[in-house]
């Protein structure tokens, strides 16, 4: 993309300015599903970061070799391979985390952040920027999950990392750890980020960050986004 951008910018952009969850609105499913506890949120974030860094590394190495027409299945297989790897590691060394993440560990494969970065960044850039981009995006994702997980655990269970907090643990608001609470907290966190950044709320995702850009036929043909045509604003 931009040749003159310093390497540190590739790393830091994922943390705040282009935070994958709170700004680009990608990877919503794990953000909502595994954030009932702060420790789960961090585990999921780091597992995703690992897959993201590794897949970005491999894809940027192979970018000249993978034919354009079949790049999507290739990316998915590379990602799925690393997901299998990390689930083995977690199953062996952190069985309790493995249990509580459950099916969402497998579903890292279809996390649109990873496919989105592979398509938008790693397949067009050199190795080092790609790794840094993956690391920054992964840590940004982890940070967003950590904020969500902390809020939901503190209010919903009255504890933080399993440590009981005074006052709150007497009558925790269970709703926060239920599915409805997940939607609510995420909505509030995105609103708060908008407020702090003093920015108009994100209404749509550009083709640049759209995870389906790889499969989408409309890109570059000036046809507009197919999901827009049908009244959607983002689509996975």
């Amino acid at each position: 993309m931009n040749e003159n951008r310093p390497l540190s910018a590739e790393f830091t952009k994922g943390l705040i300015k282009e935070n994958p969850v709170l700004v680009m609105l990608l990877g919503m499913c794990p953000t909502l599903a595994v954030t009932t506890m702060a420790s789960n949120a961090i585990g999921m974030g780091l597992a995703t970061t690992f897959v993201l860094v590794c897949s970005n590394l491999v894809i940027s190495l192979l970018k000249g070799i993978i034919p354009k027409a079949v790049r999507l299945p290739c990316f998915i297989v590379i990602i799925a391979g690393f997901v299998t790897l990390i689930s083995f590691v977690l199953q062996r060394y952190l069985p309790s985390l493995y249990e509580s993440l459950g099916v969402f560990l497998t579903l890292i494969t279809v996390n649109c952040i990873i496919l989105g970065r592979a398509e938008a960044f790693a397949s067009k850039n050199k190795v080092l920027p790609s790794v840094l981009d993956g690391l920054g995006m992964g840590l940004g994702f982890t940070a967003a999950l950590f904020v969500m997980g902390s809020l939901r655990e503190i209010f919903g269970a009255g504890s933080w990392f399993g440590i009981k907090l005074p006052l709150l643990s007497e009558e925790p608001m269970l709703i926060f750890i239920m599915p409805a609470g997940g939607f609510f907290v995420l909505g509030c966190v995105i609103a708060a980020v908008n407020r702090i950044a003093n920015r108009k709320p994100p209404e749509e995702i550009s083709c640049e960050n759209c995870p389906s850009a790889a499969i989408c036929g409309a890109k570059g043909k000036g046809e507009g986004c197919p999901s827009d045509k049908n009244g959607g604003e983002t689509a996975q």
């Binding site: 919503m28 239920m178 909505g187």
Partner: protein, 191 residues
């Protein structure tokens, strides 16, 4: 048969795939703006889910035979990706009206985590072939129901006066929280 019906009811109401399991949120938030696109996307998802469940079941049996079940994730996602492409090509050639109605949604389904999720859940729950199909159909139906219900809610949000910071996605998410809350009423029905 009775069990299959129970699986479908559980999937649609008690364990709604979008509102209580958080799968396919991106598509849920993206395509639910209008009733018409909700129904189209829902139809495409039901179709792909049932077909994917039917395809991955024998694939898993094959993996089990050679004791390489750890390749499940890789195999399933490839089958789903291939399958979606295949459906698109076949549909375009043989059923143009259906393609016009559902076609645009098909590419978006490959990375919909609900599809991979349902095939993995079928294996984890140890469902038979028939029950896998029932579960896939129920999950697809649940996805459609959530989309259709939510498109109605969103039409109301568009007309209301919302604080500037909450406009757009935050308001949508909070509305989703309320819809999800209503589905908690079914929790007592767990079979």
């Amino acid at each position: 048969m009775k069990e299959a019906i129970l699986i479908i009811v559980t999937a649609v109401f008690v364990n709604n795939v979008v509102l209580s399991q958080f799968m396919g949120i991106c598509a849920f938030l993206g395509v639910s703006k209008q009733l018409k696109s909700s129904v189209g996307m829902g139809g495409a998802v039901i179709f792909v889910m049932v077909c994917a469940a039917a395809c991955t079941y024998p694939v898993y049996m094959l993996l089990e035979r050679f004791e390489i079940t750890y390749l499940r994730t890789v195999a399933f996602i490839l089958v789903i990706a291939m399958f979606v492409q295949l459906i698109e090509i076949v549909m375009k050639k043989t059923m143009p009206p259906l393609y016009n109605a559902l076609g645009v949604y098909l590419p978006l389904i490959t990375t919909n985590c609900a599809v991979l999720g349902v095939t993995v859940a079928n294996i984890d729950e140890g469902y038979s072939f028939g029950h896998s199909i029932a579960n896939a159909f129920g999950t697809g139906l649940a996805f459609t129901l959530a989309l259709v219900l939510f498109s109605g809610v969103r039409a109301r949000i568009a007309d209301s006066d919302i604080p500037e910071t909450f406009k757009g996605v935050p308001a949508t998410l909070i509305a989703a929280a309320i819809v999800s809350l209503s589905f908690m009423g079914f929790a007592g029905m767990a079979f």
